[in-house]
């Protein structure tokens, strides 16, 4: 029984790592290329929001075109001092129509927000590596329950923002749950702080914390390349 559980955990972590591989590598690629493009653009004068949008849009569309992992929104979030004349610019495309996020329809004060308060911005900024943040209610872009994947963008080693994408937990559930269910044992995916992302056991609700419950006692297996854990049982 122990061996079965162990191999189930291993296979589950592989399924999850594989699932997030494409979105992470599309962002790493975008971050790399964009860093060079931004350096060139900055070299020839002040960078405006409109110029930035033109550079980012093809990268966003590449992320939105992924089929292995369905992406809801994608783009680039500039650090506060990158642009001339726009403090907090979101260069972001989302939804079925891949529309540009311009003026959030129902919101409060989005343009004054300090992005370094957010895990998806702060962690790549601090570590220099891609990061899967959430699940969280993304009240900046999609107003949906999402995970946000983000990779840092640098110009000559200086951090200038993150290339990011949102995946709806709804999509993650639709795509991952059948594969994890096929393993035949109860499998729960939790994030680094112990929040349930999804579970093959309906008793464990997405969004709940495992803290204090039965799952908190069980062993966690880390998924390669993402800060997500698998709990079997």
């Amino acid at each position: 029984m122990v061996t079965t559980t162990h191999s189930t955990a291993t296979r589950a972590t592989e399924i999850v790592s594989e699932y997030f591989r494409a979105p992470i590598s599309v962002l790493e690629e975008a971050a790399q290329v964009l860093g060079g493009q931004l350096a060139a653009a900055k070299g020839s004068g002040a960078l405006t929001a409109a110029q930035l949008d033109l550079l980012v849009e093809p990268h966003a569309h590449a992320a939105l075109a992924l089929v292995e992992a369905r992406v809801y929104g994608a783009g680039f979030i500039a650090a506060v001092d990158l642009l001339t004349g726009a403090r907090n610019h979101l260069s972001w495309w989302q939804g079925d129509d891949r529309g540009k996020l311009v003026l959030a329809a129902q919101s409060v004060n989005k343009e004054f927000i300090d992005y370094s308060d957010f895990e998806w911005f702060r962690v790549p900024m601090m570590t220099g590596a891609p990061h899967v943040a959430g699940p969280h209610v993304d009240y900046l872009c999609s107003d949906e329950y999402t995970v946000t994947v983000a990779a840092p963008v640098h110009i000559d080693g200086d951090f200038v923002g993150v290339a990011g994408l949102d995946m709806l937990i709804d999509s993650v559930e639709r795509q991952l749950l059948p594969r994890l269910s096929a393993l035949g044992e109860p499998v729960t995916l939790v994030n680094g702080v112990g929040r349930v992302v999804l579970s093959t056991d309906a008793a464990h609700t997405t969004g709940d914390a495992v803290r204090g419950g039965r799952l908190a006692e069980l062993e966690r297996a880390r998924c390669g390349g993402v800060e997500l854990d698998i709990i079997v049982g």
Partner: protein
């Protein structure tokens, strides 16, 4: 089959406001609510058209309406575009809407706001993890009574972030809608030092309860906070009558 008691809602009037009027109202609310500030440039007509999912002609018509109401000015030339009028002052708009509001409508707004917020903090108390509450406190600690613009913005942000800890997208969207509605009125409450102290203390009590995982405590403090705010609005309304 639609259950009978829901039929009433189903067959309610949709209203005949045209799309241009809807766009105009959305932008007017953002301006009078202080979300778009005096002098701020609006996105271009084509960008607005894409965002709202309407034709550019519809946006042009709505901008015409906003110009006629003195909320927006349009400048020609290279650095031209539509800008929020310098005279668009959220506080005076809030005073006017408070003056014309009935006590019933204020109490009902409070009841709606309290119901949604309470549902959110109940879930947040169960689901939030310590590092998230800590991030919220960091933001809360930036509250600066010397700058009322920043004060309101920070309280609104903290409130939205607090309810987002519920992990419910639907409830958070509803809270954002309500926050946008009530925030302009709260600017009036913010002008009174005593009220600022009360709101700050009660919001902190909600955060403390969420951190302890104390759902009833979070709900109780939320209801006290909303009651205090609505009482304050009614007091202000009575003073200025």
């Amino acid at each position: 089959m639609v259950p009978r008691r829901l039929e009433g809602a189903l067959f309610q009037s949709i209203g005949d406001a045209g799309r241009a009027e809807l766009v105009e109202r959305r932008l007017a609310d953002a301006i009078t609510g202080g979300l778009l500030r005096a002098g701020e440039r609006l996105p271009s007509e084509s960008e607005l058209a894409r965002t709202f999912g309407v034709a550019p002609a519809t946006v042009r018509e709505s901008l015409l309406g906003l110009r006629a109401r003195g909320l927006v000015v349009t400048r020609r030339g290279r650095n031209g575009g539509s800008f929020v009028a310098e005279g668009a002052d959220p506080i005076s708009h809030a005073r006017e809407s408070l003056r014309t509001a009935s006590r019933l409508s204020l109490r009902d707004l409070g009841a709606h706001y309290a119901a949604i917020t309470a549902a959110c903090v109940r879930l947040a108390a169960r689901r939030a993890v310590p590092s998230e509450v800590q991030a919220l406190r960091t933001r809360f600690d930036r509250l600066d009574e010397g700058d009322l613009e920043q004060w309101r913005r920070t309280l609104d942000d903290v409130q939205i972030e607090l309810v987002a800890l519920s992990q419910s997208a639907r409830l958070t969207r509803e809270q954002m809608r309500l926050q946008a509605e009530i925030s302009p009125l709260l600017r009036l409450v913010d002008t009174v030092s005593e009220h600022r102290g009360t709101e700050r203390a009660l919001l902190l009590a909600v955060i403390d309860a969420v951190e302890r995982g104390d759902a009833p405590g979070a709900v109780d403090a939320t209801e006290q906070m909303v009651d205090a705010v609505i009482d304050a609005l009614i007091a202000i309304q009575a003073q200025t009558a």
